[in-house]
Symmetry: C2
Subunit: 342 residues, 2 copies
């Protein structure tokens, strides 16, 4: 079933959340997400997103509400790129490398109803919350912690956490269907802030239509084939992972999630799962040279790397390509809604 | 420059005619069209389409007018997929294999202001026109003949022909710019008729938005890379060549045009121009078995073949694949606006 043709036939608004439902139907046996011991298929990811969206609706999340996230590239971060906009709300992924003061500026401006926090950033969040004066006009967001699914040390176990929310979500069939019907394709899907290098972070609003087209633009210009295996070396908080969050779903690919980006982790995942694509800043390209120097010429498929930000030196590119990586250099700003290819 | 991002940024309507301008800027040295001795680059194709559109405007063609075409896969047929909608008019490519009576039914229904006729179909057109009662309420369309550029025998040399129209077109810069600004992406770009196997042909209206999305759908699902070399074995009058007319422009590819589809012509063009993609009905797959049996395993790239219509027998597919063709089977109807991939 081809969602592009169907969108047009029914004049359905363009939104990348339709990629999720399509992936669950067209690629029912493909692995959607891998993270440590956790492996999901596309139907499981679809089910989890529907449950989370239903739970958010039960928490009175509604159209154009902001839901902020402080998280590394774990499955929850990926799922929320679909589940939050499925409710009509706007996701706001926050750069976890910012200091407490800058994050406080973002929260004061975005005024989220809910803030999802990965357990790793619980101390940072405490620091941020102390900086913010909450009152009736600017109420404190509901904090929901994300614990690793196979972690033994649970944070805030007495409170509602991410997995608890998914368990309690009850998506009726009609609710699940309506969640894929965005009212207007120009509605916001994501609120992304610039890094604040020149001034306070500035908010950039991405529309459902913009996200959809940006995902297709990447597929076309990076020449991505169906069912890629995508290693998450680029933070999803960077302009929604340059829209690759949604592009991987459009292609029925596999998301290999990484909490920490290190050379051994990158090489282990490439070898274990047959990674075909990854994106990163030039700094991560340098990591690749530090890693193993094993011959990977036997690999039937090269690893395609999309890099952006500062221009990597020619010598670095040459060395990385000798290791079996095919590097494409893109250009982008948070404001340009995904990378632009020249 | 990425047209997808730009369309969104400026909230420009989605239309595949923007692919042409982008190709002329992003792929200035790539060959756009090959036909016999004629070779054009993308800037040349862009210039010719702007000239033709300007000439059509000077003939009082305006928004939502119908311009019909009876033509094989020659450069004019390709160019008119851009030049006609650039004026706001709607192209109506007619199946040249229909009999005069059926074509007359289409013309009576579509009521074109202009009918472009390739010289090969001049006798058929005479037959069709004799069947039609024209009067003030249903005026006879202006007939414009298309002669092969390198042909020595010109038809209707005293009258205005296609190349004469291009020569007389005067696209001012502001006119050329405005021709890429479709007012509403839901406006029709093409009026295609079904083949009339079950009843009189039925008209199907394709919108600019639908054509744009259908082109991108093909790129994604057929896994087309940038700069393909596309051999036109599928008639462009079949649902705008399953939207591949526009997809090839989006990718800055090369259109290898064919007046007659025969095995020697197919193999000659594959060998001369390094064809990467072609589309056809299963009958043409049979032609491939009749052609040369030379070993093509030395080819660095296989020829990707998209086939549709009736299902080709497994034995035929196997034999064709042994010849170095990679076959994908799609499904489509004129009504579905390009093929659908399952």
């Amino acid at each position: 079933m081809d969602i592009l043709a169907i969108c047009e036939a029914n004049n359905v608004p363009l939104t990348p959340i339709t990629f999720l439902k399509r992936a669950s139907e067209c690629y029912p046996n493909r692995t959607s997400i891998i993270y440590k011991q956790t492996h999901f298929t596309w139907p499981q990811t679809y089910d989890r997103c529907c449950r989370l969206a239903a739970a958010l609706l039960s928490l009175n999340i509604t159209r154009n509400d902001i839901v902020s996230i402080l998280s590394p590239n774990v499955p929850a971060m990926y799922e929320m790129h679909f589940a939050i906009p499925m409710t009509g709300a706007i996701l706001n992924p926050i750069n976890t490398r910012l200091d407490a003061k800058t994050i406080a500026i973002i929260l004061r401006h975005a005024q989220p109803k809910i803030l999802f926090v990965d357990h790793e950033f619980a101390p940072l969040t405490q620091e941020v919350l102390h900086l913010l004066p909450f009152d009736d006009s600017k109420p404190k967001p509901l904090i929901i912690f994300i614990n690793d699914m196979d972690s033994t040390t649970k944070h805030s176990s007495k409170e509602l956490d991410y997995e608890g929310l998914i368990r309690r979500g009850d998506p009726t069939p009609s609710l699940s269907t309506s969640m894929f019907c965005v009212r207007n394709e120009h509605d916001p899907i994501s609120l992304n802030y610039t890094s604040g290098t020149t001034a306070d972070p500035k908010g950039v609003v991405i529309s459902h239509r913009g996200a959809y087209l940006s995902a297709l633009s990447t597929i076309m210009n990076w020449e991505m084939k169906l069912s890629p295996v995508y290693l998450w070396t680029l933070p999803m908080f960077h302009a929604n992972g340059w829209s690759h969050t949604w592009a991987v779903a459009a292609l029925g690919g596999t998301n290999v999630c990484l909490r920490n980006v290190t050379a051994p982790e990158i090489y282990k995942n490439i070898s274990s799962y047959g990674v075909t694509h990854m994106s990163c800043v030039p700094t991560v390209l340098k990591f690749l040279l530090e890693g193993d120097r094993n011959d990977r010429s036997h690999r039937s498929r090269p690893v395609h790397v999309l890099t952006g930000g500062s221009s990597p030196p020619a010598a670095l590119l040459k060395k990385v390509e000798q290791l079996g990586f095919q590097v494409l250099h893109g250009y982008g700003l948070t404001e340009t809604s995904g990378p632009v290819y020249l």
